[in-house]
Each structure stands twice: as C-alpha cells, then as structure tokens.
Amino acid sequence: MTGLDVLVPSSPEEAVAAYGDGDGVTVIAGGTIVLPEITYGRLRPSKAILLKDAGLAGITRDGSRVTIGATTPVVELTELPAPIGPCAANVADSEIRAQGTVGGNLCAGIGPEAPRGDLQGALLAVGATVRTGGSGGEKTQPLEEFLADREGKLLLDVSYDEPAAGAFASLDRPHTHDYTALAVSAARAEDGTTRLAVSGVAGHAVRLPSAEAKADNPQAAGEAAAGDATFADDALASAWYRGQTLPVLVRRALTQLQEA
C-alpha cells in the first residue's frame, strides 16, 4: 500500500474538504462493504477518508422532520416506525448492523453476488432528501436523484418527514448474511400521498409510480408494479422469480398500510 494517503477528518467541514471532488477517493464509514473489497484486492485505494470522527452520526428531530447523519449505524434505525425500522432490522445481523452505516447503505453499488442497500427502498418510500458535499458545493436533492448519480458527492445526511403510516414487506432471507432478494416499502404521507419503493432490483432501489397510482387497490397496484422495475439474475434469485414476487410484496405492503 505504498503512497496510500489516509485522512481522518474531525468535522463535517474537514470531511468535505478532504473529499474535494471525490476523484480517486475511497470513503470508509463502517467499512463493512469496503474492507472486504480491499482484502480481496478488488479495490486498491490511493486516498482514503475514514469518517468515524467526522461528526456525521446521530438522529435528530425537528417537529416531524427526521434527519439521520450519514455515519449513523444501521442499528440505531431499527426502532423507528415502519417502513424504516423493520427494514433496518432486516439488514444483516446485530453485529454488522452496529458497524454498517446508513450512508454506506445508500452509497452501496451492486455487489459481486446481489444488489445491496436495503435501506434505499424504505427511505425512497418516505420521500427522503439527502444533503451532500463535493464538487459543486453543498447540495440538497431527492434521494431518487442521488441514487441515479452518486459520483463526486459525499453524503452528509438524509432527512424525511415522519409518515402517517408505513409498511414493509420482504422475502425472507435464507441467512442473516444474505442481502434481501426483494423488499417493498410503503408509506402514506400526512397529506394522504402513498409512496412505494422496491429494493433488490437491478441497479439501485426505485419508486413504483404505476403501483402508487393504484395504491387504494392492493391487487391492482401489485399487477401494475411489474412495469416499474427491472430485475437481474444473481446468486440470490433469478430475475424471473423477482418479477413473480414483486406483485405479491406490493399487495402485502399496501394491505399492511391500509390496516396500519
């Protein structure tokens, strides 16, 4: 690891300055995804930033607005109302949840074996926005936009308005260390709007607009959802299986939401 530059910023401002435009920078928060990449030689960082002391951890509330710092461990989300809490509790095991962070989950790309980033779906369903630093300065944007283009951005925090009701429906995992093959999050905002999102699909988690349009009819919404997502074959499940499962999970999530 000759020429490796490791920075340990002690404030968000220092972290943003160290990150610069992000070119060639490896950001390490909990390290649960990055460390194996380094161990197995798939990633050879030349400049790394450890965010552990950057002051980016913690959950704050301002009225109904919830803000979660990027390095907040996943375990701290498990008691939040659905869909966030049940989704966070469905990530890995208790020890990994205590180390892995919300930011790592939102920044995770496709892994060698499966899509990662289970929390992306739950946070899309509550209409979250993210605050980032990096090239072009500080920016606040919807999570959808961030997921579509994460290059050159250092995630600082994610925030959302607490929904009136939420629901989470997931395929069971064969083992705590498997990523979730497919999960649907649903949330009804205070203004009555229902948002639906699915994780475990190709690329990153996505909203399900066709299903949202029929949200008051869980069966019809499930059937409509098929056109909103594309699936990949991987070690966890085939694209075909995911396609067959999505309508079921949408129906379950919306039924839960109606009963919530």
Binding site: V6, T39, E95, H177
Partner: protein
C-alpha cells in the same frame, strides 16, 4: 497507531487500512480470531472493540486506533476461565473449535449487555456466527446456562497446584 490488546498497550506498524484481523494475527501473533470468510459473513474473527462485539476482518486498523481490543485470551486464563468459557467447556459447546472464539466473544458481549438467556434472543445474537460442525444446540445450551447463572467462573476441571488430575489420559506421562 496504538491498540490496547487484552490489557497490554501495543504499538502498531501495519498499514492503516490493514484489517484489524491481520494486525492481531500477523503483527501481534494473537491467532484466536480466525480468518474464516474475511468478508464479515462467518463471525469467526469477532473480537471486542471497546466492549462491543465487532468483526475484526471489517475494521481497518486506523479506524480503531487507540481502542481496547479483547480476544478470548483476555476473557479468562486457563486456570480461571470466564463464566462463558466455563459454560462452553461444561456443555461441550466446542467441536472443531474454529468458530468457538467468535462465538465466545459474541456470547460474552451478550451476557455483559444483560442478555435474557431466552433461546430466541441467543439465536438472534449468534445468527451471524457460522458453526460448520453444526453444533448450535450445545452452543445455545451453554449461553443459556451462563445467562441463567448456572455456571460460575470457577475452573473446576484443570488440576490446581499440588492436585492430581481428575482426568486420566491413557498413555499420558505420569
């Protein structure tokens, strides 16, 4: 960088992104944390970092600079095993032994955090730890016994100084 490992402060010279697991095993020669999957999926490398069970393979050593690390060697000594080590011993909870250090550390942290001893909560706690001998029943028995206070940390198996061994081993020197 510095680490306090099992109560002893050590200077660390490995590169900053070296996993803590390799620092313990290769730089410090402490081999109880096992290099199983080396990607967080087996639990065999679990150690205590400032009292919390963590995967040594997933932590860059620079991320734990200054921390207190405890491996099974730090839980108890052969002549004075900790409660969880004694429970594992009495309940035959180790088979090949590869997962045992990680299991012990996770179970120790569970007890320290006031684990109830209900089987479901023990299963949840140990769910990230893989035993390829599939000896889970005895492992869970041992943790439940320790949580229930059935086991003390008194080491009653090894001979005390001046005592004869309670176990006769055929062929062993007298």
């Amino acid at each position: 960088m510095r680490l306090t490992v099992n109560g002893i402060e050590r200077g660390i010279e490995s590169a900053p992104l070296t996993p803590l697991l390799y620092v313990l095993r290769e730089e410090l020669g402490i081999t109880s944390p096992k290099a199983g999957c080396q990607q967080g999926g087996c639990g065999a490398c679990t150690v205590l970092v400032d009292g919390e069970a963590r995967r040594a393979c997933l932590l860059a050593v620079a991320a734990v600079d200054g921390a207190e690390i405890t491996t099974v060697e730090g839980l108890g000594a052969p002549e004075a095993l900790s409660a969880i080590q004694t429970a594992f011993h009495e309940h035959y909870a180790a088979q090949c032994g590869f997962c045992t250090s990680g299991m012990l550390i996770a179970a120790h942290a569970y007890l320290e955090h006031g684990g109830s001893g209900e089987r479901e909560s023990i299963q949840e706690t140990l769910s990230g730890h893989v035993c390829r001998c599939t000896g889970y029943v005895k492992i869970i028995d041992a943790v439940a016994a320790a949580a229930g206070g059935e086991i003390t940390s008194r080491q009653k198996w090894l001979p005390q100084t001046g005592e004869e061994s309670p176990v006769e081993v055929p062929g062993a020197p007298a």
